[in-house]
Amino acid sequence: MGEVGRNGTFRRLVDEHYAQLYRYAYRLCGRADVAADLTQETFARAQAQFSQLRDLGRSKSWLFAILRNVYLQQLRVERRQRDVPLELVDLEVARDEETNADEIEPHQLQEALNELPEVFRTPLILFYFEEFSYRDIADQMNIPIGTVMSRLARAKSFLRKRLTRTPRPDDELCR
């Protein structure tokens, strides 16, 4: 593929994915300005590395993985990570703005996401938001698929406790 063709293909990737990437970035960092910067930086890096992308069908996963790397690098540089230890996730649930399960406010969701450690936040966002498979998430995060499933279950449990008024009706086994 020539340069013009490659540029054209890359511009199509931008058109197809910039909105999804921005949403992902926003849910990761919780700030519109930072999310816009992350999205731009992701495409800049992707353009520089575009020749390394062998399968255009994997471009979405590839772009999402780049964005996460950019985000993690920024976190490391800024030393702003406020994650709570994993074992405390179940303990630090505040319920001051509880709602029903069918009326979750986006800003409340973001507040809850911000409280989650990145290793839980990322699979959760990918799972709900862009509907990646467990295998896709595992590949992007470079962790076993079992770890993805376990983190998803714990993160969902955290969100449920943090955001909904009624706990899941599973307090007792039916049989």
Partner: protein, 240 residues
Amino acid sequence: MNCQTIRLLLPYLTRQNELGAEDWRAIDNHLATCDTCRALVEDERAFDRAIGQAMHTVTIPVNLREAINRRLEQEPSRNWRFRVPPWAAVAATFLLIALLTWRWYATRPLIDPTQWAEWEDQQFVLTYNGSRDSVIEFFQSRGLKTFVPADFDYTLLTRLDVIDIEGTPVATLAFQKGDHRAKVYVIPRRHFRVPNLPVSPATGSHCTVELVEVSRDYVLLIVYFGEANRQFFFIPGMIG
């Protein structure tokens, strides 16, 4: 399938394609007969829908795409992979290999007969008209400040050299008188561990090795061949 298993699988039951057909059949059969588990699964799905809906509610800045395109146009230098054709990468690789090969070839020590003749001339003159001063001058010309013993007869000198022992330059002098030969290494103490002296000479099949203390900073390691000993090579009248 029982209630316990359903509860374990609950977080994953909202994705149809993450479980096999066989598993889904068993799950559906159980849900058809268990109201509690069915309520759990429906609640889980409602929760997922609500989270998914809220997750998607993100307003995209109106000028984001333009901003991205502007940024991409401003960074052509990071786009070098687009502009380097494959043949140029291959040519650059060959050029690099050629440069490394040339460098390896050019930096090997050169065997130059002219330099060699000059070196042998110097050795000849030094040893033909040998004196302690000319030996000191020789080692200084090689950048080596060393001890040169005063009691050797330098008219018996046959060879001077600087050799490398474990990274340290060491002055060596060779003497010959008739069939008797000796080789002297001037050992700087600060670079080597030397046993407490005196020590008995060590004898090999064809030589004897002796350590002689000559100053606070140096010892002489003298190798005698055949029946030779130190007295053979001393200045007449200085044998003590």
